[in-house]
């Protein structure tokens, strides 16, 4: 079985890992329910979601900010038998669960599945309401970390997380700096009808799948220099960006469907939505993907046109972009957008350099 994670663990750790795993396997097998067993983390694609991306906690958050942590926890405990409403990452999680069902049908003994982990720095007492809410929607989330206020970054690393979604941009930035693919998820302005049979993920190119090296040229030297540069270096692959590994993990799972002749019916579809234009700067992107052995199902070159309307047609469960300008455009037209705080794009807004405020302590 191929692994989704690098294997650099010593043998002594392996055997205690095996013990932990076998004990859990025995436990789940002994349950009389149809509940699917959570996959072995080493082989799974781990997606960590925060409580505020999974559920809508806007009202509760207000209490926390205005009245403090004690009142907030007391409120959550008082309402713990009332399930929370879905949050922005909820449709994405349901789509992941659907892919898992399809994978289990085709490969009943495989551990190569999505593993959804709730990663929250909420207090454990709030956790009861979160567990009750997960039960209400029957989500397959069996693993969680409720850190009671501490940073989740260490736990993200301990779980070998492939993707972390949160509403807190500081935590997301910390995760990216630690080499973990992460994004800040925004609730769209209006609801869209999303597929319940296919997981659809859209990615921006520069500073998301690829590094921000070309983005830097645009910002500092303008479009003409950018076009010349990209044509000149067409055959030199771009460096990788923070979400490249997540696309890779999706590709591995897609190939499992292809090898069972399910290409036309594959429950995962990926999209590249880039401001680059096909004619001038697009070739380098496609050649880079090819050199990495990665496929993307649809590549859409906008040549600078706004992304919002196109995304409305695509209806992805999540769209990753490094520039807030595109995130806002996507949100306004009903797309669930996730900001990747990486690269030179963070210092600019609509092409203008932002005055950096003094860093918060």
């Amino acid at each position: 079985m191929s692994e989704m994670k690098p294997s650099d663990v010593a043998t002594a750790e392996d055997s205690s890992e095996e013990q932990d795993w076998n004990a859990a396997k025995a436990f789940f097998d002994s349950l009389k329910s149809n509940k699917p067993r959570p996959p072995k983390p080493r082989f799974a694609v781990s997606i960590a979601v925060s409580s505020r991306t999974l559920f809508n906690m806007v009202a509760e958050r207000k209490i926390y900010e205005e009245e403090g942590v004690e009142k907030y926890v007391a409120f959550q405990v008082e309402h713990e038998n009332e399930p929370l409403k879905p949050g922005p990452a909820f449709p994405f999680v349901k789509a992941l669960m659907n892919v898992n069902s399809r994978l289990r049908e085709l490969y009943p003994d495989s551990e190569e599945l999505f593993d959804i982990v709730l990663m929250t720095n909420n207090h454990a007492q709030v956790g009861v309401r979160l567990i009750n809410s997960i039960n209400h929607y029957d989500l397959t989330i069996e693993r969680f970390c409720m850190t009671g206020g501490k940073s989740p970054i260490g736990y993200l690393e301990a779980y070998m997380t492939n993707l972390y979604l949160s509403k807190d941009s500081d935590k997301v930035t910390e995760a990216i700096e630690a080499g973990i693919a992460a994004a800040t998820v925004f609730m769209p302005e209006k609801e869209s009808e999303l597929s319940d049979t296919q997981l659809r993920v859209a990615f921006d190119g520069d500073a998301v799948l690829f590094s921000d090296e070309s983005e830097i040229i645009v910002k500092q030297h303008g479009l003409d220099t950018f076009f010349e540069h990209e044509k000149h270096f067409e055959n030199q692959p771009l460096a990788q960006g923070p979400l490249k590994c997540f696309l890779e993990a999706l590709g591995k799972l897609q190939r499992k469907f292809y090898s069972k002749n399910e290409r036309l019916n594959c429950p995962i579809r990926t999209f590249l939505v880039t401001a680059r234009s096909a004619a001038s700067s697009g070739a380098r992107v496609l050649k880079t993907l090819r050199s990495w052995g990665l496929e993307i199902d649809e590549a859409l070159f906008l040549a600078g046109a706004p992304k919002g309307p196109l995304l409305q047609k695509i209806r992805p469960h999540i769209f990753f972009d490094d520039q807030m300008f595109h995130i806002e455009g996507a949100k306004d037209l009903g797309t669930i957008a996730a900001h990747v705080p990486y690269g030179i794009g963070q210092k600019y807004h609509k092409g203008k350099l932002i005055e950096q405020p003094a860093k918060k302590e």
Binding site: F28, G127, R143, F144, Y155
Partner: protein, 257 residues
């Protein structure tokens, strides 16, 4: 021959209400200090954390009687009693008394002193003590790197019971009553900035196991701060981030029922 010596530098605790914690002297002190004083052992940050809890409890209420009563116990004749006393005073440790015992009678000493928790780096000592119904926990080299500003206790909800440590009903009871005391102490502080943090971890079961354990703890008066549900994920990496001073598992398997 067991002998108990009071530490005259430290105010004695109210024996009706204090929580007696005995720490094996070899965990606290190691050879090589110089000047007739031992060097700091792995349990140092733990002792400092216990002291911090007492300090903060007294800040909240200067008449507080629910405090940790720390006893230093020798379990063999390797360390010198006079040097243990002088080292304790040298470092200003809040040890109320010293129990000088040997391998044969240290458990008797624990029972006589009404010890509610025994901590040691020796696996055999911990195992023997558990079997006699005294709650005990193993300290290891990781304990040395734990914080000294906050006592972090980990309650393991459903660890697979090791064949050599079958929890007796007595030890289960001891675990629950100690944890209930901890729960009471925890209530003296607010949500944030507490010198005591109680963490629940379940390793095999899914979310309902952990959820059930949280509810059971609540019924015992224990409000856990942090909760981790592993459902078969490896414990090692999580524990190294969690950094608890010690784990209690004896009384908690089957908590989720």
């Amino acid at each position: 021959m067991v002998s108990t010596v009071q530490n005259t530098d430290v105010k004695q605790k109210d024996s009706d209400h204090a929580v007696v914690v005995a720490v094996a002297s070899r965990a606290v002190f190691e050879p090589g200090g110089g000047d007739g004083v031992y060097a700091e052992g792995v349990a140092f940050p733990l002792l400092q954390a216990l002291q911090k809890v007492n300090e903060r409890l007294l800040e909240e209420n200067s008449a507080e009687s629910l405090l940790f009563d720390i006893v230093l116990i020798t379990t063999d004749s390797q360390q010198q009693s006079s040097q243990l006393i002088s080292s304790t005073k040298h470092y200003g440790l809040e040890v109320s008394r010293f129990c000088f015992s040997t391998e044969e009678d240290f458990i008797e000493s624990l029972l006589k002193n009404n010890v509610q928790l025994f901590l040691s780096t020796d696996r055999n000592e911990v195992s023997q003590t558990s079997q006699k119904g005294v709650l005990s926990a193993l300290l290891d080299e990781y304990t040395a790197s734990c914080p000294s500003e906050q006592l972090r206790v980990l309650l393991c909800g459903d660890t697979v019971i090791r064949p050599d440590t079958n929890p007796t009903p007595a030890s289960r009871q001891a675990a629950q009553s100690f944890s209930a005391q901890l729960g009471k102490m925890r209530q003296r502080f607010g949500m944030s900035d507490s010198p005591l943090s109680i963490t629940l971890m379940t390793s095999c079961g899914g979310r309902d196991s952990c959820g059930g354990a949280l509810q059971t703890l609540r019924s015992l008066g224990i409000s856990a701060d942090e909760a981790y549900c592993l459902a078969g994920a490896p414990q090692g990496p999580i524990l190294s981030v969690l950094r608890p001073h010690f784990l209690l598992s004896d009384g908690f398997s089957g908590l989720e029922d």
